[in-house]
Amino acid sequence: MKNILIGKYEFNSEEQAKDKILALGTEIEGEYTPDNIDSIVELGFLIITPGTYDPDGHEITPPVYSDKYSVDVLWYDKIKNPYGWATYQINVQGEGAHSFFGVPYQENKMP
């Protein structure tokens, strides 16, 4: 098995998250390629409380979003968080709001 770890992160803003992600990578032929990362999933501002709707689809109350920008990363051949990432790492119950297909978070959690 390859060494795969999942990290879940909450950044203070979308801009901060994108800067952190860009800082991970290198550029080949104009194509940005992150290093030691299999998948980055920007979950964005997660819904904390779903909206409510009437039977005809009209919104009664709008959804409430988190003020944190969430990112899940499937790290490849990496044994610890990159510099500047550990501060924003979170631990969640179960899979949290997002999972990687067939890669259980609790078994593959970035320490």
């Binding site: 997660l46 709707y53 999972s99 890669v103």
Partner: protein, 814 residues
């Protein structure tokens, strides 16, 4: 393995289709993708398999369950069971005598035939006893006597033939001891073997192992095997078994650790059944069928079935395998036609009429000399069938048989609707739905029939497959934002309900029926997406639908009643009806058949200049195609597999059950080939849904200095190119790859040609030459891994010479 099946169809194509066609110096081999390339995908993924079913693709380890098919037998306990060594190892008591290599008894004196020299252990175990009755007076033997290891058990000896009994030893006596009872005759070939000889299974008092299955008798108890894997082991495991419920409703399974002491650390993650029941992660396994459960554990796992009181049935084919590796290439059969029946085991006994047994013969029929004969001259009265019971009403079968020595008349099958009327010699075949449990082969009296039949065979049609070779599928990272893709009961329902328990495109009973109410309204199901989406970006909203009473459907990307985009289709013929939007934009739509059972996948693509959380919506339409109509309270259609992705097309299905789920990016790199720098052909067959620039295939020297390329520019134009000392000569004009095309770039003598679907699209010249021996790197991407190919590859070849125009026409004609 599925890849092997696919490649058996495929591998013959590498040489080209004509005799003498030049041999490729590289050809894509579905079976060798992981050895010819570095293939990567660090997650599960799904595909449409060769039977048209959606399945998860993973790599599995070896089976951890011992004796999972319940067919293991111990060593032979009976010495000299065939009496080849006379009376050795036997005690011929009383009037038992050795006659012509058999044990015979012809008197009524109380006598015992006892196997003396390999005693039954003094433990309570199950044994399989077999013996052959050679001659008989029609009465039964028995096991009996104070030394009998099985107490007193009546044994069938009323007819000649091989007899089988499953017995439980009493643990106190050690002899196989046969008493003649009222039997007068002879027996031979006596065998006694322990069932489950290694005690792999722990049987509750209600469970027994007989006839290669484990059976529960209706009282309560467990069937257990520990250490599958042992305690302390971590991982994901696929747990599979077959069960048949004959009374009651269900069996249950449990998330038990490796020594069956606790449930701590063990989780039943998901599961399904192919049968007529259902599976829940709580462990309830309702109905008969093959069940699959995925187990995650940090402390081993034990197989543990519970048959509760009142539940009778059987368990078979139990396996637990580790999910070892996710990097399994997918050969996908989306779009294939599934019309080749897959047949089960032979159901007819004595179909070659070797003996006059097993068949019921009505007037005019006889069996002799290896055939069954109907002769009108032997007919007296009544029906004229020859038959045996071997079918289930409503299932599909294939019957084949031979008519031999035909004289006159006709034969038909009275177990189906619309049977052909056969006449003349030859092999006859028919596929049919059984209307009877018996196969009635009916000879016509009116036509004065005289004929023989032979080699009768009936096999159930268990599935349909395809002759298509499929395609090697490479996809980008994608996340299904619909958090309950299969559980429609978690959706938002307007003026409709959902009912569970219908066969889905995966073959499991986990599809839902969307049922309209009886109001004049829009009936709307929404699979919920709780993620806010990116403005000005195309999203695809897709779902599998199947018609029932409602045959027209609308599929949406749906946010609110005035914010959505949609497409309408007629499911009877896949015809487009309409599309539109409210405060949004439609970017595209599609419908495709999935398998052979009426399921379609409908996709609508759209966007908005604001951040909406698009749900996947479905509304049945009435026969006029109206979305607002007066429902009847019962009509509807089937739904399964909702998916909302940030892609301008729907990628392969990603199941979700409470969270968004991401399938990782696939890449296929580092292929090696020794190509000719001076001349050659790079040929590819396939399609691509992307709107990005991707390298379909690149043959290079391992950097970008010298290369031959096939690529797809901005999802709008496929192209061929040669790059010599960093100077690239490109030929445009291949067009889109929405549908499968065959394209080739040809180089040699400083001329480069580009062929598409049998036509030379264009030609150009190039300067210089690629150094000899440097074209050795073959990638489904640009060297270094940029611009990974996304799409379906049905063929990829490198030729080490420039083919002629005639050869290229033949190679690339679609």
């Amino acid at each position: 393995m599925y890849i092997a099946i696919a490649n058996a169809i495929y591998s013959s194509t590498l040489q080209g289709s004509g005799g003498g066609f030049p041999k490729a110096c590289f050809g894509l081999d579905y079976n060798a993708i992981t050895s010819d390339f570095t293939f990567t995908r660090n997650s599960f993924a799904t595909r449409v398999n060769e039977f048209g079913l959606i399945e998860t693709v993973t790599n599995l380890g070896s089976d951890l369950v011992q004796n999972g098919s319940f067919d293991e037998l111990g060593s032979e306990r009976v010495l000299n069971g065939d009496f080849e060594n006379g009376e050795n190892d036997w005690n011929f008591g009383g009037d038992w005598t050795l006659v012509n290599g058999t044990a015979e008894i012809q008197s009524s004196t109380q006598s015992y035939l006892r196997s003396d020299n390999d005693r039954v252990p003094l433990t309570v175990k199950t044994y399989k006893l077999q013996y052959e009755v050679i001659t008989t007076n029609g009465s039964n033997l028995r096991l009996a006597g104070g030394s009998s290891a099985f107490g007193t058990i009546t044994l069938d000896s009323s007819t000649v033939g091989v007899k089988t009994f499953y017995l439980t030893s009493n643990g106190t006596q050690a002899y196989l001891q046969i008493n003649q009872n009222a039997f007068r005759g002879s027996i031979d070939n006596i065998s006694l073997k322990q069932v489950d000889p290694n005690d792999d299974w722990i049987l509750g008092s209600n469970w027994s192992i007989e006839n290669n299955i484990a059976t529960a008798d209706g009282t309560q108890g467990y069937l257990t095997q520990t250490g599958t894997p042992p305690i302390g082991t971590s991982g994901t495991y696929k747990f599979e078994w077959t069960q048949e419920i004959t009374s009651g409703t269900r069996f249950r399974i449990f998330p038990r650790n490796g020594n069956d002491s606790s449930q701590s650390g063990v989780t039943i993650v998901s599961g399904s059944t192919t049968g007529s029941g259902s599976f829940s992660t709580g462990g309830n396994c309702v109905g008969s069928g093959t069940f699959t459960a995925y187990i995650e554990t940090t402390n081993g796992f034990s197989v543990k079935f519970l048959a509760e009181s009142g539940n009778e049935g059987t368990i078979d084919n139990v396996s637990v395998v580790e999910v070892i590796e996710d990097d399994v290439p997918r050969i996908d059969y989306t779009g294939s036609t599934f019309d080749i029946p897959v047949l089960g085991d032979e159901l007819v006994v004595n179909g070659d009429f070797a003996t006059d047994t097993n068949w019921v013969k009505q007037s005019g029929w006889s069996i002799a000399n290896g055939v069954a004969t109907f002769d009108i001259n032997d007919y007296v009265s009544g029906n004229t069938n020859i038959y045996q019971t071997c079918m289930v009403v409503g299932k599909e079968y294939v019957l084949t048989f031979d008519i031999v020595d035909y004289v006159q008349g006709t034969l038909q099958i009275a177990s189906m609707n619309g049977s052909p009327q056969w006449s003349g010699n030859g092999t006859k075949t028919v596929k049919f739905i059984a209307t009877q449990t018996r196969i009635f082969m009916n000879a016509s009296v009116a036509n004065n029939t005289i004929l023989n039949i032979d080699n009768v065979s009936i096999k159930e049609v268990t599935a349909y497959t395809t002759t298509d070779k499929g395609a090697f599928l490479l996809e980008p990272i994608s996340t299904n934002l619909a958090i309950y893709s299969e559980d429609a009961s978690q959706g938002i329902l307007s003026n409709c309900t959902v009912q569970s328990g219908f066969v889905s495109p995966s073959g499991s009973l986990n599809a839902y029926k969307l049922i309209e109410d009886n109001t004049n309204s829009i009936k709307l199901f929404r699979a919920v997406n709780n993620s806010s989406t990116t403005p000005d970006t195309s999203y695809s909203s897709s779902i599998f639908v199947k018609s029932d009473e409602r045959t027209k459907v609308r599929v949406y990307g749906y946010h609110l009643a005035n914010q959505y985009f949609y497409v309408d289709y007629d499911l009877t013929n896949n015809s487009y009806l309409n599309s539109g939007s409210s405060n949004a934009q439609v970017d595209g739509y599609s419908i495709e058949d999935i398998g052979d059972n009426g399921w379609k996948r409908i996709t609508i693509i759209g966007q908005k200049t604001a951040s909406y959380s698009w749900d996947v919506g479905v509304s049945p339409l009435n026969d006029n195609g109206d979305v607002t109509y007066l429902g009847d309270g019962t009509s509807g259609l089937y739904i399964w597999g909702a998916q909302l992705e940030e892609l301008p097309y729907a990628s392969s299905y990603i199941p979700t059950s409470g969270t968004t789920v991401t399938r990782a990016q696939e890449s296929c790199l580092d292929g090696t080939v020794v190509a000719n720098s001076d001349e050659g052909v790079l040929y590819w067959e396939g399609s691509s849904p992307t709107d990005s620039t991707v390298l379909i295939s690149e043959l290079s020297q391992g950097n970008i200095t010298n290369a031959v390329r096939l690529y797809y520019q901005n999802g709008s134009d496929s192209r061929g190119a040669i790059r010599v000392s960093n100077v690239q000569t490109t030929i445009n004009g291949g067009g889109t790859l929405d549908v499968t095309k065959k394209i080739a770039v040809v180089w040699g003598n400083n001329v480069v040609d580009f062929w598409v679907n049998g036509v030379k699209v264009n030609t150009d010249t190039y300067v210089g030459s690629i150094p000899e021996g440097v074209l050795t790197a073959l990638n489904f991407a640009q060297v270094g891994g940029a611009a990974d190919f996304i799409g379906r590859t049905k063929d990829l070849r490198v030729y080490c010479k420039a083919l002629t125009d005639d050869e290229l026409t033949e190679l690339t004609t679609i």
